[in-house]
Amino acid sequence: MALVTLEHVSKSYPAAGRAAEPVVAVDDVSLEIEAGDVYGIIGYSGAGKSTLVRLVNALEPATSGSIRIDGREITGLRERELRGIRLGIGMVFQQFELFEAKTVRANVAYPLKVAGWAKADIRARVDELLAFVGLSDKAGARPDQLSGGQKQRVGIARALATRPRILLADEATSALDPETTQEVLALLKRVNEEQGVTIIVITHEMDVIQSIATKVAVMDRGRVIEHGDVFDVFSAPRHPSSRSFVGTVVKGVPSPTELAVLRERHEGRIVTCSFRDGDARQARVFLDLAEAGLEFELVYGGINDIRGRAFGHLTLAVRGDDAAIDRALVAVSQHADVTEAR
């Protein structure tokens, strides 16, 4: 049984004016998130990701559909019961949202006080958490004395305080520089691997998905347009919107503008070979082309590694007799997906 199950979940907000239509933020979304997953949800701003994640911890009630956490239906629960559910779900935010008037220690202790822990237990747990995120020396500091990366580490410690099984990360690294982003992502990865916490990561940055997610859902205008293993979605995105996200981190098939530039620079026919798993077949492709007596050069593309599995797209400019090229491409298509740019 999945840890988080969404079935036909929708969320709409009442219309702003009399003539306006209600705004549908989340539109008929069904997802299953298994325990132990790092589940990425990617989409442009306004795609409904933030609303979706707020349905999971019921900060916002769903308009329709069913949401189950660990088998328990949470739609229709009363506010008081939802507070108990929220104790089991941590959340970190893009802008950290630390309590500025409290010290780092008091920030991390806050959810434990809410949960009614005893004072001595709170102290011990806070020490343990601050050690885990590497901020033991900052216990007495105020948030405004910390850097962005430190603030987010406090945010993560605070979100994990009550030992939740699920952690929601809403654009947790979007306000950080690239280096700090990697630090925070590495920490989230440890949270997942060492503490077994299931993480739902909301982001508009594909490299965040690439770094830590195991599964991904792509959202567009409130709908999930594609979801599955990160490797599958990265190596063969089906939806145009997914393709453009994947394109931000993976050099895939050249776009029409890029193609025009390539044609200007290189003579011959432009052919893209796509590989998934098993690099050995690359050699076969080159061998086929060489045996056919064709001249070719690599003009675009790259090989990517996702959690130890490789895939990539290599675009070649091939020159020679047209009929020979046609024959060679048939041979090559045994080893790779071949698309020729027309």
Binding site: L59, E79, L87, M91, E97, E100, K113, V114, A115, L168
Partner: protein
């Protein structure tokens, strides 16, 4: 100058009355205004305990009383003063009128400062399972404490100003002293002595307020 020295005991008694009125007004009006402000803030649309009816009633009441000039208010509220305090004149009656007027003003100031608390930290507290009352007490108020202290400092000075009109109902104080012995008896030195002492009060209050706020804000 001689006249001022002659009036020494009256002067210090008036100063004492002013301090007494301001202190008690800040105590009662401060508490009343805090509750009003908290109520306004919590019941707003999209607030922690949204309630359109309560919010509208509070707004209408405050908007009704707040624009009344205090010199009229103190007279207009007299029947109520008599009902609550027992008498309609004197220092205690003045404190009642002052507290009432101050709490409406403070209510607005408290509300204004609370709305500056970032919605994100409230959402964070909600995500940890905290309820509305706990969030008000342990997140919203502490997060707004610095500006709140500055707001209260601002109000103390406004109350000193209002307390100068307490003389109208026999409340005494420095305002009455300046009117009676300075203005009406053509003794500018006496008037200015009262002015200077009020300036000193204001400076001290503002100084303490600034210091406290700085300490709370940690900068």
């Amino acid at each position: 100058m001689d006249r001022l020295l002659e009036l020494g005991p009256e002067f210090w008694a008036a100063a004492g009355e002013t301090l007494y009125m301001v202190a008690l007004t800040m105590l009662f009006g401060g508490a009343g205004g805090f509750l009003l402000g908290l109520g306004l803030y919590a019941t707003r649309r999209g607030g922690l305990l949204p309630n359109a009816v309560v919010n509208t009633v509070l707004n209408v009441v405050i908007n009704f009383f707040r624009p009344i000039p205090f010199i009229i208010f103190i007279a207009a509220v007299q029947p109520l003063t008599r009902a609550v305090i027992g008498v309609g004149i004197g220092t205690d009656a003045a404190i009642f009128a002052l507290s009432l007027a101050a709490s409406f003003a403070i209510g607005r100031i408290v509300e204004q400062n609370l709305v500056t608390v970032r919605p994100g930290v409230i959402e964070a507290a909600r995500s940890m399972g905290a309820g509305p009352a706990r969030i008000l007490g342990t997140v919203v108020v502490p997060e707004a404490l610095g500006p709140l202290i500055l707001g209260y400092t601002f109000i103390v000075i406004a109350v000193i100003d209002m307390s100068a009109m307490a003389g109208l109902i026999g409340g005494g104080g420095l305002g009455y002293f300046a009117q009676l012995y300075g203005f009406r008896q053509f003794e500018p030195v006496v008037t200015w002595a009262a002015v200077l002492l009020i300036v000193v009060f204001v400076q001290v209050v503002q100084g303490v307020g600034n210091r406290l706020a700085r300490r709370v804000l940690g900068r």
